[in-house]
Symmetry: none
DNA sequence: CGCTAGCGTTTGCATTTGCAAGCACTTAGG
DNA sequence: CCTAAGTGCTTGCAAATGCAAACGCTAGCG
Protein backbone atom coordinates (compact mmCIF):
# COMPACT_ATOMS: atom_id res chain seq x y z
CA UNK A 1 0.00 0.00 0.00
CA UNK A 2 1.32 3.36 -0.96
CA UNK A 3 0.55 5.04 2.30
CA UNK A 4 1.20 8.66 2.94
CA UNK A 5 3.56 9.67 5.71
CA UNK A 6 1.13 11.82 7.64
CA UNK A 7 3.22 12.18 10.78
CA UNK A 8 6.31 13.17 8.84
CA UNK A 9 4.26 15.56 6.79
CA UNK A 10 2.69 17.09 9.84
CA UNK A 11 5.91 17.70 11.69
CA UNK A 12 7.40 19.15 8.54
CA UNK A 13 4.54 21.61 8.25
CA UNK A 14 4.82 22.58 11.88
CA UNK A 15 8.55 23.01 11.48
CA UNK A 16 8.12 25.25 8.49
CA UNK A 17 5.49 27.25 10.29
CA UNK A 18 7.79 27.75 13.27
CA UNK A 19 10.61 28.87 11.06
CA UNK A 20 8.30 31.35 9.41
CA UNK A 21 7.33 32.49 12.90
CA UNK A 22 3.67 32.13 12.16
CA UNK A 23 1.02 31.07 14.63
CA UNK A 24 -1.23 28.19 13.79
CA UNK A 25 -4.13 30.52 13.20
CA UNK A 26 -2.08 32.81 11.02
CA UNK A 27 -1.13 29.96 8.75
CA UNK A 28 -4.67 28.65 8.81
CA UNK A 29 -5.95 32.00 7.64
CA UNK A 30 -3.26 32.39 4.99
CA UNK A 31 -3.91 28.90 3.72
CA UNK A 32 -7.67 29.28 3.97
CA UNK A 33 -7.90 26.18 6.12
CA UNK A 34 -9.66 26.00 9.45
CA UNK A 35 -7.31 26.15 12.42
CA UNK A 36 -8.62 23.01 14.13
CA UNK A 37 -8.06 21.00 11.03
CA UNK A 38 -4.60 22.41 10.50
CA UNK A 39 -3.81 21.49 14.09
CA UNK A 40 -4.83 17.92 13.45
CA UNK A 41 -2.87 17.76 10.24
CA UNK A 42 0.27 18.99 11.97
CA UNK A 43 -0.08 16.28 14.60
CA UNK A 44 -0.55 13.62 11.97
CA UNK A 45 -4.12 12.84 12.97
CA UNK A 46 -5.57 13.55 9.58
CA UNK A 47 -4.64 12.79 6.01
CA UNK A 48 -5.20 16.04 4.12
CA UNK A 49 -6.52 15.98 0.60
CA UNK A 50 -4.52 17.16 -2.37
CA UNK A 51 -6.34 20.46 -2.37
CA UNK A 52 -5.70 21.18 1.31
CA UNK A 53 -2.06 20.25 0.86
CA UNK A 54 -1.83 22.72 -1.95
CA UNK A 55 -3.38 25.49 0.10
CA UNK A 56 -1.03 24.84 3.00
CA UNK A 57 1.91 25.06 0.64
CA UNK A 58 0.66 28.42 -0.55
CA UNK A 59 0.21 29.62 3.00
CA UNK A 60 3.74 28.59 3.84
CA UNK A 61 5.03 30.11 0.62
CA UNK A 62 6.84 26.96 -0.28
CA UNK A 63 6.43 24.88 -3.40
CA UNK A 64 3.69 22.32 -3.35
CA UNK A 65 6.19 19.84 -4.70
CA UNK A 66 8.22 20.14 -1.52
CA UNK A 67 5.21 19.25 0.55
CA UNK A 68 4.38 16.29 -1.62
CA UNK A 69 7.91 14.97 -1.28
CA UNK A 70 7.58 15.27 2.48
CA UNK A 71 4.28 13.47 2.34
CA UNK A 72 5.97 10.62 0.54
CA UNK A 73 3.87 11.20 -2.53
CA UNK A 74 6.50 12.38 -4.92
CA UNK A 75 9.78 10.60 -5.17
CA UNK A 76 13.01 11.30 -6.90
CA UNK A 77 12.91 10.12 -10.42
CA UNK A 78 15.67 9.05 -12.72
CA UNK A 79 16.27 11.12 -15.82
CA UNK A 80 15.04 8.27 -17.92
CA UNK A 81 11.74 8.09 -16.14
CA UNK A 82 11.30 11.82 -16.41
CA UNK A 83 11.70 11.75 -20.17
CA UNK A 84 9.37 8.85 -20.82
CA UNK A 85 6.61 10.15 -18.63
CA UNK A 86 7.01 13.65 -19.99
CA UNK A 87 6.62 12.43 -23.54
CA UNK A 88 3.79 10.07 -22.67
CA UNK A 89 1.82 12.83 -21.07
CA UNK A 90 2.42 15.54 -23.63
CA UNK A 91 -1.00 16.20 -25.09
CA UNK A 92 0.31 18.56 -27.73
CA UNK A 93 1.52 15.46 -29.54
CA UNK A 94 -0.57 12.88 -31.31
CA UNK A 95 -0.50 9.33 -30.10
CA UNK A 96 1.56 8.30 -33.09
CA UNK A 97 4.07 11.02 -32.42
CA UNK A 98 4.36 10.03 -28.81
CA UNK A 99 4.94 6.42 -29.74
CA UNK A 100 7.55 7.42 -32.27
CA UNK A 101 9.44 9.55 -29.80
CA UNK A 102 9.33 6.85 -27.16
CA UNK A 103 10.65 4.31 -29.62
CA UNK A 104 13.49 6.58 -30.65
CA UNK A 105 14.28 7.25 -27.03
CA UNK A 106 14.24 3.53 -26.24
CA UNK A 107 16.51 2.92 -29.22
CA UNK A 108 18.97 5.47 -27.90
CA UNK A 109 18.93 3.81 -24.52
CA UNK A 110 19.56 0.41 -26.05
CA UNK A 111 22.32 1.92 -28.17
CA UNK A 112 24.05 3.17 -25.08
CA UNK A 113 23.43 0.01 -23.13
CA UNK A 114 22.92 2.23 -20.14
CA UNK A 115 19.34 1.27 -19.57
CA UNK A 116 17.65 -0.07 -16.51
CA UNK A 117 14.26 -0.80 -17.93
CA UNK A 118 13.42 -1.16 -21.58
CA UNK A 119 9.94 0.04 -22.18
CA UNK A 120 9.01 -0.16 -25.80
CA UNK A 121 5.35 0.35 -25.05
CA UNK A 122 4.85 -3.22 -24.10
CA UNK A 123 1.89 -4.80 -22.48
CA UNK A 124 0.64 -3.58 -19.14
CA UNK A 125 2.66 -5.50 -16.66
CA UNK A 126 1.25 -7.20 -13.64
CA UNK A 127 1.41 -5.38 -10.36
CA UNK A 128 4.05 -5.91 -7.76
CA UNK B 1 -14.37 27.07 -5.73
CA UNK B 2 -12.46 23.89 -6.06
CA UNK B 3 -8.93 24.75 -7.03
CA UNK B 4 -8.55 21.39 -8.66
CA UNK B 5 -9.42 20.72 -12.26
CA UNK B 6 -11.25 17.45 -11.78
CA UNK B 7 -12.67 17.17 -15.28
CA UNK B 8 -9.31 17.83 -16.90
CA UNK B 9 -7.69 15.37 -14.56
CA UNK B 10 -10.29 12.74 -15.29
CA UNK B 11 -10.04 12.96 -19.03
CA UNK B 12 -6.27 12.88 -18.76
CA UNK B 13 -6.42 9.67 -16.75
CA UNK B 14 -8.82 8.10 -19.20
CA UNK B 15 -6.61 9.18 -22.08
CA UNK B 16 -3.56 7.65 -20.49
CA UNK B 17 -5.46 4.47 -19.76
CA UNK B 18 -6.62 4.19 -23.35
CA UNK B 19 -3.13 4.66 -24.65
CA UNK B 20 -1.86 1.98 -22.32
CA UNK B 21 -4.66 -0.19 -23.70
CA UNK B 22 -5.93 -1.05 -20.28
CA UNK B 23 -9.54 -1.57 -19.33
CA UNK B 24 -10.98 0.41 -16.48
CA UNK B 25 -10.97 -2.65 -14.26
CA UNK B 26 -7.41 -3.49 -15.15
CA UNK B 27 -6.23 -0.08 -14.09
CA UNK B 28 -8.41 -0.22 -11.00
CA UNK B 29 -6.79 -3.48 -10.00
CA UNK B 30 -3.27 -2.27 -10.75
CA UNK B 31 -3.87 0.94 -8.83
CA UNK B 32 -5.69 -0.85 -6.00
CA UNK B 33 -8.69 1.42 -6.43
CA UNK B 34 -12.24 0.21 -6.84
CA UNK B 35 -13.46 0.28 -10.41
CA UNK B 36 -16.62 2.28 -9.72
CA UNK B 37 -14.66 4.99 -8.04
CA UNK B 38 -12.11 5.09 -10.83
CA UNK B 39 -14.97 5.44 -13.26
CA UNK B 40 -16.28 8.43 -11.38
CA UNK B 41 -12.85 10.00 -11.16
CA UNK B 42 -12.33 9.66 -14.88
CA UNK B 43 -15.64 11.40 -15.53
CA UNK B 44 -14.78 14.23 -13.19
CA UNK B 45 -17.50 13.40 -10.70
CA UNK B 46 -15.15 12.97 -7.76
CA UNK B 47 -12.10 14.75 -6.42
CA UNK B 48 -9.62 12.01 -5.53
CA UNK B 49 -7.39 12.36 -2.51
CA UNK B 50 -3.64 12.63 -2.70
CA UNK B 51 -3.24 8.98 -1.88
CA UNK B 52 -5.66 7.79 -4.54
CA UNK B 53 -4.00 10.05 -7.07
CA UNK B 54 -0.70 8.51 -6.15
CA UNK B 55 -2.02 4.99 -6.59
CA UNK B 56 -3.52 5.81 -9.96
CA UNK B 57 -0.18 7.23 -11.06
CA UNK B 58 1.47 3.98 -10.04
CA UNK B 59 -1.13 1.96 -11.89
CA UNK B 60 -0.58 4.01 -15.01
CA UNK B 61 3.18 3.82 -14.56
CA UNK B 62 3.51 7.55 -14.92
CA UNK B 63 4.92 9.99 -12.43
CA UNK B 64 2.66 11.29 -9.72
CA UNK B 65 3.89 14.75 -10.57
CA UNK B 66 2.36 14.47 -14.01
CA UNK B 67 -1.01 13.70 -12.49
CA UNK B 68 -0.74 16.57 -10.04
CA UNK B 69 0.09 18.95 -12.82
CA UNK B 70 -2.95 17.75 -14.71
CA UNK B 71 -5.04 18.26 -11.62
CA UNK B 72 -3.82 21.85 -11.48
CA UNK B 73 -2.14 21.23 -8.15
CA UNK B 74 1.51 21.49 -8.98
CA UNK B 75 3.21 24.33 -10.74
CA UNK B 76 2.66 23.89 -14.39
CA UNK B 77 5.39 24.03 -16.81
CA UNK B 78 3.80 23.73 -20.23
CA UNK B 79 3.82 20.29 -21.77
CA UNK B 80 6.49 21.05 -24.27
CA UNK B 81 8.66 22.67 -21.65
CA UNK B 82 8.51 19.53 -19.56
CA UNK B 83 9.61 17.39 -22.48
CA UNK B 84 12.40 19.66 -23.64
CA UNK B 85 13.87 20.16 -20.20
CA UNK B 86 13.55 16.47 -19.46
CA UNK B 87 15.41 15.54 -22.61
CA UNK B 88 18.00 18.26 -22.20
CA UNK B 89 18.82 17.13 -18.69
CA UNK B 90 18.92 13.41 -19.37
CA UNK B 91 22.53 12.36 -18.77
CA UNK B 92 21.94 8.85 -20.04
CA UNK B 93 21.89 10.27 -23.54
CA UNK B 94 24.78 11.65 -25.50
CA UNK B 95 24.65 15.24 -26.52
CA UNK B 96 24.09 14.27 -30.11
CA UNK B 97 21.18 12.04 -29.14
CA UNK B 98 19.65 14.81 -27.08
CA UNK B 99 19.92 17.20 -29.99
CA UNK B 100 18.34 14.67 -32.30
CA UNK B 101 15.42 14.06 -29.98
CA UNK B 102 14.87 17.76 -29.46
CA UNK B 103 14.86 18.35 -33.21
CA UNK B 104 12.34 15.60 -33.77
CA UNK B 105 10.21 16.96 -30.99
CA UNK B 106 10.39 20.46 -32.43
CA UNK B 107 9.45 19.05 -35.84
CA UNK B 108 6.39 17.39 -34.35
CA UNK B 109 5.38 20.61 -32.72
CA UNK B 110 5.74 22.51 -35.98
CA UNK B 111 3.82 19.78 -37.74
CA UNK B 112 0.92 20.22 -35.39
CA UNK B 113 1.01 23.99 -35.58
CA UNK B 114 0.69 24.02 -31.82
CA UNK B 115 3.88 25.93 -31.51
CA UNK B 116 3.79 27.45 -28.05
CA UNK B 117 0.36 28.58 -27.20
CA UNK B 118 -0.66 27.03 -23.94
CA UNK B 119 0.63 28.13 -20.58
CA UNK B 120 3.66 30.20 -19.92
CA UNK B 121 2.31 31.36 -16.64
CA UNK B 122 3.69 30.45 -13.29
CA UNK B 123 0.53 30.99 -11.33
CA UNK B 124 -1.66 27.93 -11.45
CA UNK B 125 -4.97 29.20 -10.24
CA UNK B 126 -7.45 31.97 -9.80
CA UNK B 127 -10.06 31.16 -12.34
CA UNK B 128 -13.72 30.08 -12.61
C1' DC C 1 -31.68 -20.13 -26.31
C1' DG C 2 -28.87 -19.89 -22.01
C1' DC C 3 -24.47 -19.34 -19.88
C1' DT C 4 -20.16 -17.07 -19.15
C1' DA C 5 -17.00 -13.26 -19.27
C1' DG C 6 -15.95 -8.80 -20.30
C1' DC C 7 -16.91 -3.70 -20.45
C1' DG C 8 -18.40 0.85 -17.94
C1' DT C 9 -21.90 2.76 -14.80
C1' DT C 10 -25.33 3.41 -10.88
C1' DT C 11 -26.78 2.90 -6.19
C1' DG C 12 -26.53 2.52 -1.09
C1' DC C 13 -23.68 2.90 2.75
C1' DA C 14 -19.45 2.92 6.05
C1' DT C 15 -15.72 5.86 6.70
C1' DT C 16 -13.38 10.05 6.52
C1' DT C 17 -12.49 14.88 5.59
C1' DG C 18 -12.84 19.52 6.99
C1' DC C 19 -15.22 23.13 9.58
C1' DA C 20 -17.94 26.04 13.22
C1' DA C 21 -18.31 26.46 17.90
C1' DG C 22 -16.41 26.02 22.15
C1' DC C 23 -12.75 24.47 25.51
C1' DA C 24 -8.47 25.30 28.54
C1' DC C 25 -4.45 27.94 29.10
C1' DT C 26 -1.24 32.20 29.02
C1' DT C 27 -0.12 37.14 28.92
C1' DA C 28 -1.19 41.97 29.28
C1' DG C 29 -3.75 45.94 31.12
C1' DG C 30 -7.71 48.71 33.19
C1' DC D 1 -10.28 40.81 39.78
C1' DC D 2 -11.52 40.19 35.27
C1' DT D 3 -12.01 41.57 30.56
C1' DA D 4 -9.54 41.15 26.18
C1' DA D 5 -6.55 38.88 22.89
C1' DG D 6 -3.31 35.51 21.99
C1' DT D 7 -1.80 30.55 21.73
C1' DG D 8 -3.27 25.44 20.45
C1' DC D 9 -6.74 21.60 21.22
C1' DT D 10 -11.40 18.94 21.60
C1' DT D 11 -15.95 18.21 20.13
C1' DG D 12 -20.16 17.30 17.33
C1' DC D 13 -21.78 17.37 12.54
C1' DA D 14 -22.55 18.31 7.34
C1' DA D 15 -20.39 16.88 3.34
C1' DA D 16 -17.40 14.25 0.75
C1' DT D 17 -14.53 10.18 -0.22
C1' DG D 18 -14.18 5.49 -1.56
C1' DC D 19 -16.04 0.81 -1.85
C1' DA D 20 -19.19 -3.57 -2.28
C1' DA D 21 -22.89 -5.08 -4.68
C1' DA D 22 -25.65 -4.53 -7.79
C1' DC D 23 -27.22 -2.99 -12.96
C1' DG D 24 -27.43 -2.91 -18.26
C1' DC D 25 -24.93 -3.81 -22.26
C1' DT D 26 -22.08 -6.53 -25.79
C1' DA D 27 -19.66 -10.61 -27.55
C1' DG D 28 -18.45 -15.50 -27.76
C1' DC D 29 -19.71 -20.34 -27.29
C1' DG D 30 -22.12 -24.99 -26.01
Amino acid sequence: MAGIDVSGLGSFIRDQRDQAQMSLRQLAKAAEVSNPYLSQVERGLRKPSAEILNRIAQGLRISAETLYVQAGILSDRSGEEIVTTAIASDRTLTERQRTTLLQIYAAFQAENGASSQSNTQTKPQENE
